[in-house]
């Protein structure tokens, strides 16, 4: 049986207290949220934290609430189940419930948190792509105070974020979606239920008024680069013209060319590349359909 190595354990009840502990341990401390990834990696000996700071006793970090005029704020400790079930989010950002329904499995979603997912900075995150297309910003709090980072800035490499020492992710802000917009997240794993994405694609299409011209198109990809990424070249091919099926096909091809997938035991780079093309096409077509109806 695997056992956890000894570690110091703290259960702060306020955020300043948590930041103080994290700061005192100078980077050797790991914040604990859902623990679905942290504890597994500790048991495997992949990481050996000397200190664990459990954030779950801090009240108010799991809220999902409307911020009038700005959007919806999701607390870092909101679980994916709470996010999936949130009536507010289902109305404001329906793509989230759809995407979260393919993230891990219900029992993991009951524990895993939005903040933990971002903080883990997994290249294969199922949450990062939809946060990227929705233009989410991440709020962090540390010894030097609070700041915000865009989803394009938060990841600095596989497993690492741009957060400073002792900074904790406190929440994410999702701007309201424009009318006449549609979004979808599609992923492929080795099986249907509960798998790490071999490739994940989120796409957003927004029409300007009633016209058929795409005002805004965003594509974000997971598991095909060192960090989750926007397919900016693919997005550009669409902005330059009307959103036709041919144009979407071209964008999908461009997306599959601007990634840098790896071959590992889960899938080969060429499979990932091919699947990105197919999923980008399908996600854009679905988003387009929704935008037309919306």
């Amino acid at each position: 049986m695997n056992r956890l190595k000894p570690f110091a354990y703290f259960e702060p009840t306020t955020l300043p207290e948590a930041i103080e502990i994290l700061a005192a341990k100078k980077g050797a401390a790991f914040p604990l949220a859902g623990g679905t990834d942290l504890l597994v990696r500790m048991k495997r000996g992949v990481i050996k934290p000397s200190t664990i700071v459990n954030l779950k006793r801090i009240e108010g970090l799991d809220q999902i609430k409307k911020e009038p005029g700005r959007g919806v704020r999701i607390g870092a400790l909101a679980t994916f189940s709470a996010i999936e079930d949130s009536h507010l989010l289902r109305l404001s950002h329906p793509v989230i419930a759809q995407a979260v329904s393919v993230l891990a499995c219900p029992s993991i979603r009951n524990l895993a948190t939005m903040g933990g997912n971002i903080g883990r900075a997994s290249p294969a995150s199922d949450a990062a792509p939809f946060l990227m297309i929705l233009g989410a910003t991440v709020s962090l709090k540390g010894p030097q105070g609070e700041r915000e980072l865009g989803m394009g800035e938060i990841f600095s490499g596989p497993g690492t974020t741009a957060s400073r020492p002792a900074e904790a992710i406190t929440s994410l802000l999702l701007p309201d979606m424009a009318s006449h917009s549609g979004a979808a997240y599609l992923k492929i794993g080795r099986r249907e239920g509960m798998d790490c994405a071999l490739a994940g694609v989120a796409a957003l299409v927004t029409f300007s008024g009633g016209k058929r011209e795409a005002e805004d198109t965003k594509i974000a990809l997971s598991a095909v680069a060192p960090v989750p990424m926007r397919a900016k070249k693919a997005e550009k091919t669409i902005l330059s013209g009307r959103l036709t099926e041919k144009c979407i096909r071209e964008a999908a091809k461009v997306a599959s060319e601007e990634i840098s997938p790896v071959s590992d035991m889960r899938a080969s780079a060429s499979y990932r590349r091919e699947v990105v093309r197919v999923l980008t096409y399908r996600a854009l077509m679905t988003a387009l359909q929704q935008a037309r109806e919306g």
Binding site: R3, V40, E192
Partner: protein, 767 residues
């Protein structure tokens, strides 16, 4: 005969204790003074052990014993005695146990394991059995010829060939010369894990004064394990005492000494304190046992009308580093590679080869998965090439009653045809349907299988009618999770004539319950069922004699039904309890009946001299029909529907049969499309369920179990078996359906999404 329980889907007799959490599994066993074991495992696939320094480990607080192969220099092996309890001079696979620690806590045991220092001299390793069989390959067991083994197995000294076997019947050259077409194909089937919910576990206590090892284990055959351990340690059978717990799943994986061996080695040094060893999922996936990987070549001669004239098979099986049941899988598996088809001329060569990998062993089907994969895929290849309907080519060649098997046994083939007819009908074989929508393409496939049971094997039982009319059935058939207790209780209830809830079947205890060959080979319902039926009839007769005596009636005129004795003449009714009370009064007493079933003297297994062992007291037939939908842009194969028809002889408990069929189909889908070990120089990289993928609920189709009842003449109430054959046709049925959809044949398992897309792209490069 009218039955009250047999043939009915009564709920499991152990359901309540299981759903309320009261059932004791091996991992639940807690004993006073119990220590916890942990194992040091080899990081290398093949290496000489130069030195093991355990001094730092022994100093860890709480550590009671640190044991190496030198401390406990014994070897075991059910078929070939080649496996040390703890590696001695060499390690032969990654994660082979080298040393073990017993300590007051799991944490202390684990900490001590990490402090054991080992010096190795790495040796060249070999992982492909074909390469391992070639001359010049690194030799894995230098002293192969010195290992004790049954004379049934032909060992090839100086090589890695553990066993070699050839067999022929008829004249294959003649048969091939009579063929209009000759098909030659090669197939590959991969190793897979059993993935039971409960990993391997054992609690072992050594009583130094009596030299008795007591072993709590969820193994599938307590007598076989106790016998093998006694044989390994030079003890008599009664010095190794097995107490079976409930089992959290076996599927063949619990058919070997695994955690028990570590426990025994540790318990020998803990001065009477029991030691518990529970494998982690990583240990389960990398160091228990797996299905034998196999490379199969089939050459088949066929007439234009689809009649088979001859078949030649060559199989190379991967034994892994040590022999579990590999030698017998390689033997029994090879025999059924010709399928349920009349083939006048056959020959096979079957070789089992050592590699530097985790040991292989029994896996639901015992070789049948491997050979059915090759046989049924080739039948489809033949049908396609000759333009014959795959259903028709099978019907044309199927065994008929009276045909002879490859050892001359006369086949009882009733039920075979019906499984094909019912499964193909259920899937809508031959009907028009919409085959494609956009990127999605559908197809249908079928596959049939033949599975025998190990023959002859014996089962014994005792039935105790207690003084209050309650019944205890003493049997060594374990409840592996398939419903053994329920089915055996149903047979007991109807054989004696008592209510089902008056019967209790305790878990096996080799000091008390009599011999049983094991819950393996789909044999329990038939063999133990027959033994219980015999014992039941004996106690029933004695009860009626006692009742006649007590009541002053004619025993011939008395009936025993649902625990009540009725006089046919007077219609006077007395309960069994009253009779027992009257007979034994306040002092108490027992009516004891024994049952012993062996098929050894049955005329059914008559065959040619010396090769009777190839036969089977009953043959299980099954056909699976699958419908799949393939996403041609992503390679995703979605199994939409599987109709699985099985000839079970007679369903003692139809619901339990359906559960076996459904469970097998799920297992089959899982190992056809998803399960796969990813290896790097002998190390399994995907050693957790995060990356060793079994089918999830979202991957499962509509499963239609179909029970065919051909009523076996010597089976209890006509029953045969169901546990194993339900798995083997699933893989070829799916592959044949994929071929029907895409026109692409996959001869190698598994058929992953990536493989499907890659094959599609090879054929139709993307524009």
């Amino acid at each position: 005969m009218k039955t009250n329980y047999v043939g009915k889907s009564v709920p499991r007799v152990d359901a309540l204790e299981k759903v309320t959490g009261q059932a004791i599994y091996c991992v639940d066993v807690e004993l006073p003074g119990m220590l916890y074991g942990a194992v040091l495992r080899s990081p290398l696939a093949h290496a000489r052990i130069i030195e093991i320094d355990k001094s730092a480990a022994t100093r860890v607080p709480g550590v009671k014993a640190v044991v190496t192969g030198n401390d406990f220099p014994y070897t075991f092996g059910h078929m070939v005695k080649d496996q040390p309890f703890l590696a001695m001079d060499k390690v032969r696979y990654v994660n082979e146990p080298l040393a073990a620690v017993a300590a007051d806590t799991e944490a202390a045991a684990q900490e001590a394991v990490e402090k054991i220092q080992v010096k190795y001299e790495e040796l060249p390793a070999v992982f492909d059995p074909r390469k391992a069989a070639a001359t010049g390959a690194p030799i894995i067991h230098e002293n192969l010829e010195r290992y004790d083994h049954s004379s049934m197995y032909k060992i090839v000294p100086g090589t890695n060939v553990c066993t070699h076997m050839t067999y022929s019947r008829g004249d294959v050259d003649k048969g091939l010369s009579e063929a209009d077409e000759i098909f030659q194909n090669e197939f590959y089937i991969h190793p897979v894990a059993h993935t039971p919910m409960e990993t391997h576990a054992a609690v072992v206590q050594h009583d130094p004064s009596g030299r008795v090892f007591t072993v709590w284990s969820s193994t599938d055959a307590p007598y076989q394990r106790a016998k093998d351990l006694a044989n390994a340690l030079g003890l008599s059978f009664n010095q190794v005492h097995f107490l079976s717990t409930y089992s959290g799943g076996g599927f063949g994986g619990k058919g070997a000494i695994v955690a028990e061996g570590i426990g025994v080695a540790l318990a020998r040094f803990t001065k009477g304190r029991p030691v518990k060893v529970v494998f982690s999922r990583q240990e389960e996936l990398t160091a228990s046992q797996v299905r034998l990987e196999a490379f199969l070549k089939l050459k088949t001669g066929v007439k234009k009308d689809g009649t088979l004239t001859a078949r030649v098979a060559e199989i190379t099986w991967d034994n892994g580093a040590y022999s579990s049941k590999g030698p017998e899988v390689a033997r029994r598996g090879a025999m059924t590679i010709f399928g349920p088809y009349r083939t006048p001329h056959i020959r096979f060569v079957s070789q089992l080869v050592y590699t530097n990998k985790q040991p292989s062993g029994a896996y639901r089907g015992f070789g049948t998965n491997q050979v059915t994969w090759a046989c049924e895929a080739q039948m489809d290849i033949i049908a396609n090439k000759l333009g014959i309907n795959p259903v028709e080519i099978r019907l044309k060649n199927f065994y008929q009653d009276g045909d002879r098997y490859i050892n001359g046994q006369v086949m009882q083939a009733a039920g075979l045809r019906e499984t094909l007819e019912k499964a193909s009908q259920e899937i809508g074989w031959g009907e028009q349907y919409s085959r494609s929508t956009g990127a999605l393409v559908r197809g249908k496939g079928i596959a049939t299988t033949i599975k025998g049971t190990a023959t002859p094997t014996d089962s014994y039982c005792f039935i105790k009618v207690n003084f209050d009319g309650s019944i205890t059935v003493l049997t060594s058939s374990v409840e592996i999770g398939a419903g053994q207790k329920t089915v055996l209780a149903q047979i007991a209830a109807d054989s004696i004539g008592v209510p089902l809830d008056s019967i209790l079947i305790p878990n096996p205890d080799t000091h008390v319950t009599p011999f049983d060959f094991g819950v393996t080979s789909s044999r329990t319902t038939y063999h133990m069922g027959n033994a219980i039926r015999m014992a039941g009839q004996k106690v029933r007769k004695e009860i009626l004699e006692i009742a006649a005596d007590v009541l002053g009636a004619n025993p011939q005129r008395l009936l025993l039904c649902e625990g009540k004795i009725m006089d046919k003449d007077s219609e006077h009714e007395v309960s069994l309890k009253e009779i027992m009370t009257k007979k034994y009064g306040g002092k108490g007493g027992t009516i004891l009946g024994d049952g012993h079933y062996t098929p050894a003297r049955s005329s059914i297994i008559n065959a040619e001299h010396k090769i009777q062992w190839m036969g089977s007291i009953f043959w299980m037939w099954a056909t699976h029909a699958a419908e799949v939908e393939v996403d041609t842009e992503t390679g995703v194969v979605k199994v939409l529907r599987i109709a699985a028809a099985h000839d079970v002889g007679r369903a003692i408990n139809p619901m339990a049969c359906e559960q076996q069929i459904e469970g097998s189909v799920i297992m089959g889908i899982s190992n056809t499309l998803f399960e796969e070990f990813k290896m790097d120089r002998g190390r399994i990289m995907n050693d957790t369920f995060a990356d060793y993928k079994v089918a999830s609920m979202l991957d499962l189709p509509v499963i239609v179990p179909i029970i065919v009842e051909s009523h076996h003449s010597e089976g209890p109430f006509g029953a045969k078996g169901i546990g194993e054959p339900a798995l083997s046709p699933t893989a070829p049925a799916i592959a044949n359906a994929i071929f029907d959809a895409l026109g692409i044949r996959f001869n190698e398992l598994p058929i992953t999404r990536e493989k499907v897309l890659s094959a599609l792209r090879e054929r139709d490069p993307v524009q």
